[in-house]
Symmetry: C2
Subunit: 388 residues, 2 copies
C-alpha cells in the first residue's frame, strides 16, 4: 500500500504512529501547516523545517486557478515546483469552492463555480479533483466532498443526510478515478506521484447515526485512510468532541485518522484523546498575521497597548527564534507599523507553539502520561488570558 | 576616538578598510541594508546575518514618530529594542522630512513638519536630531543636513549655495550638541551608546566649487567621519561620478567615506573606484518587493510571463537560499498571487547580490585586480537584460 502506517504507542484511545509516504515519514499525531498557494504565508520552507514541520497542506482550489495544475505537472509536480522535499497533503478544492468562489451551485455532477479571481466558469467534479491532485503529485489526495455549514435550521437533519449520501456517491466516483489514474488510464492527466494515497472523508454533520452510516460506507469503498470532515464549522466544541469521539472508533485502527480544519490547541489534545492522528488548521498562521499569539499562558494580542514597552518575550516558555530574540514591545511596533516581519515572526512563533504541542502530546503518549498532560494543558491554557 | 578605521589595502583610489564600532567591526567597502523602522522589510535579522550584513541603517524619522525614541531609550536603545547585535547607523531624519512629511518648511532653526501619520506638528532641529539619535544609541549618527532635489532651475546654483551654507551652520550646532551629549550635559536625553560616532555631511549639489567649500568647512568642524550627501537625487550618473570623484579626495584619507543613498551595483563599483567606503540604498530591498531582481546578467523582472514555467533559478551564478531552492516559475507564482514570501525570497536574493558584490570588490582590491573586476562587472551588467 502506498501509505504506510504503524501505531507505535497507545495510551487510552490516544496513539502515536509513524506514517510513511513517498516523501518521507511523519510522526503522528501531527499538525500540518497550511501553505495555501504553495507557501506558508510569511515563512520560508527552511524555517518550517527548522521548527519541525513534517508535512505541509496545500490547497487544490488555489493551485488549480493559479498557476494551474497543468503548469505544475509540466514542471514535475508540486514538490519540485515549490521546493518542498517532505510530504504534502492536498485538499480536494471543495471547501474553497463553497467558501470563496462566486455563485457556486452543487448538483450530482459536481460543484459549478466561478473563479473568485476573474469570474471564469469552472466545474469541479470528483474526477476532476482527483485529476488535479494527480497532476500536483501530492503524497495524500482528498476526495471531493460536500461540506455543509453547521445546520441550525429545522431541516438540518434532512440536509445533512442528502449531503452525506451525495458525498458517498462522489467518494465512489473519486476512488474509481484514482485507481484509473494509478493505472495510467486517464489520457491527458500526468500522474506526478505514483505513490499518492487517497483519503476518504466521513460526513454527517452533528448526527451520530449519519456519521456512523457515512463511516461504514466510506470504509467499505476502501481508501488508504480516512478523514472526518464537516466539523469546526460553527458547532459548539463539546458537540465536535462528541462527534469525533463517536466517529474515530468506526475508522480502521491500523490507518491514520485525519480531523480536517481543526482547531485550537485544546481541540487538538481533545481530538488526540479520541484517536485522531492528523490535523490541519489556518488558526496559528492566520491569527499570527492578525497579531494574535498562542502562548503557554493563553492567547496574547500583540496589538494591545499594554505591550508597548514590555520587554519580555511573547512566551517565556518558548524556545522559538521569535521568543529568543524579540520582545513584545518590538513585535507590537512591527505590527503597528505594518511591517511584513510582524507576520513572519508571529507565524514562526505560533507554528512552533502548535508543533511543540504535538511533540509534547507524542511524548506524553509514549510515556503513558497523556491524561496528566491533557489536564495540565487545560489548566495552563484556561488561565486568565493575557489580554482580559 | 569612538570610531576606529584602518585602511588595509588600496588599489588606485579604491581601498579596503576595517571600521570598528562599539558593536563590532565592519569590513569596507560595505553596503548597509536599510531597516527603516527597525527591520529590513521581509527579512529577519538572522537571515541578514547569514548573508553577511555587517551593519544596518535605520531611519530616525520613522523611529522618532513610532514607537518614539523615548520608548526605545527606556528599553535600552535601538540594538536591544530590535535585537540586532551588530553595528547600526542612523540617518538624521532630514531626508524623510523632505520626502515624506506633510507641509514641511525649513528655516534657520530647523525643519518644521507635520507627521505623515497623524498630521501632528514637529520641529526637527540639528540639536533634536542629535538628541533622538543619542536616545536610539546607534553606533553612527548623522548630522541634520538640507538635501536639495537636483536643481534643474536657473537659480539652482544660488539655491545650492544657500542650502550648503545652512547645512554648514547646522553641522556646527549638531557637533556642539553631540559633544554636550557625550559629556552627559543634556538633561532629559538618555545617551544609550557612549561610543556613538557622528558623521558630517558634504553638500553643494552638482557644483564642484560648492562641494569643495563644503568639504573644507565640514572637515574643519571635526567629525569622526564624513559623508557625501545630496547625490542620487535625479542628476545623471556621470555627473554623480564626477562629483564623487572630486569630493572624496577632499575628505580625510584615514576616515571612512560614506556616499549616502546610492545606488545601483555599477554606482557602487564606480564610487569605490573614487574612494568611497560605505553605502546604503533602498534599491535592492524596494525593487525586490516590486519583483525586480538584480542578477549577474542584469535585472530580471519576475512578473514577466516569460518566467511562468521557467524552472531555472533567478541567477544561476548566485548561491543564496532563494537561488538554491526556488525557480523563476515559483517566484513568479508567489509574486502574482501576492504572497508575502515573494518579498522575503526576492529581498534575500537582492541583498545577497549586493553584499556579494561588495565582497568581490573587497577581494579585488585586496589582490590588486580592482580595475579588471570593475571592467568585468560593467560588461556582465550591461549585457542584454533579461526582459528586453
Amino acid at each position: 500500500m502506498s501509505l504506510g502506517f504503524t501505531v507505535t504507542h497507545a495510551d487510552g484511545a490516544a496513539r502515536c504512529g509513524r506514517m510513511t509516504t513517498p516523501h518521507g515519514e511523519v510522526e503522528t499525531p501531527a499538525f500540518m501547516p497550511v501553505g495555501t498557494q504553495g507557501a506558508v504565508k510569511g515563512v520560508t520552507h527552511r524555517d518550517l523545517e527548522s521548527i519541525g514541520a513534517q508535512i505541509l497542506l496545500s490547497n487544490t482550489y488555489h493551485l488549480y486557478l493559479r498557476p494551474g495544475d497543468d503548469l505544475i505537472a509540466r514542471l514535475g509536480g508540486l514538490h519540485k515546483f515549490i521546493g518542498w522535499t517532505r510530504p504534502i497533503l492536498t485538499d480536494s478544492g471543495g471547501y474553497q469552492v463553497f467558501s470563496l468562489a462566486e455563485r457556486h451551485t452543487i448538483d450530482e455532477e459536481g460543484a459549478h463555480f466561478r473563479s473568485h479571481l476573474d469570474g471564469a466558469a469552472h466545474l469541479l467534479t470528483p474526477e476532476k479533483a482527483a485529476d488535479i491532485q494527480a497532476q500536483l503529485g501530492s503524497d495524500i489526495a482528498m476526495v471531493l466532498d460536500e461540506c455543509l455549514a453547521h445546520p441550525a435550521t429545522a431541516d438540518g437533519r434532512a440536509l445533512a443526510r442528502r449531503s452525506m449520501e451525495r458525498t458517498l456517491r462522489w467518494a465512489r466516483r473519486a476512488r474509481e478515478r484514482f485507481l484509473a489514474l494509478r493505472e495510467g488510464g486517464v489520457p491527458g492527466v500526468v500522474v506526478c506521484n505514483r505513490g499518492q494515497a487517497q483519503f476518504g472523508i466521513v460526513q454527517g454533520s452533528i448526527y451520530p447515526d449519519l456519521r456512523e452510516e457515512s463511516a461504514r460506507e466510506t470504509v467499505a469503498i476502501g481508501f488508504e485512510a480516512y478523514a472526518i470532515g464537516g466539523l469546526s464549522v460553527g458547532e459548539p466544541a463539546d458537540v465536535m468532541y462528541d462527534i469525533v469521539g463517536r466517529t474515530a472508533p468506526l475508522l480502521p485502527a491500523d490507518r491514520p485518522r485525519y480531523l480536517m480544519g481543526t482547531g485550537t490547541p485544546l481541540d487538538l489534545v481533545e481530538s488526540v484523546a479520541r484517536g485522531i492522528d492528523l490535523f490541519d488548521c489556518v488558526l496559528p498562521t492566520r491569527n499570527a498575521r492578525n497579531g494574535q499569539l498562542f502562548t503557554s499562558a493563553g492567547r496574547l494580542n500583540i496589538k494591545n497597548t499594554r505591550y508597548a514597552d514590555d520587554d519580555r518575550p511573547p512566551d517565556p516558555d518558548c524556545g522559538c527564534y521569535t521568543c529568543r530574540t524579540c520582545s513584545r514591545a518590538y513585535l507590537r511596533h512591527l505590527f503597528a507599523t505594518g511591517e511584513i516581519n510582524a507576520a513572519t515572526l508571529n507565524t514562526l512563533h505560533n507554528l512552533t507553539f502548535y508543533l511543540d504541542t504535538l511533540r509534547r502530546i507524542r511524548d506524553a503518549i509514549t510515556f503513558r502520561r497523556f491524561e496528566s498532560f491533557r489536564l495540565a494543558l487545560h489548566q495552563s491554557l484556561s488561565r486568565q488570558p493575557h489580554d482580559s
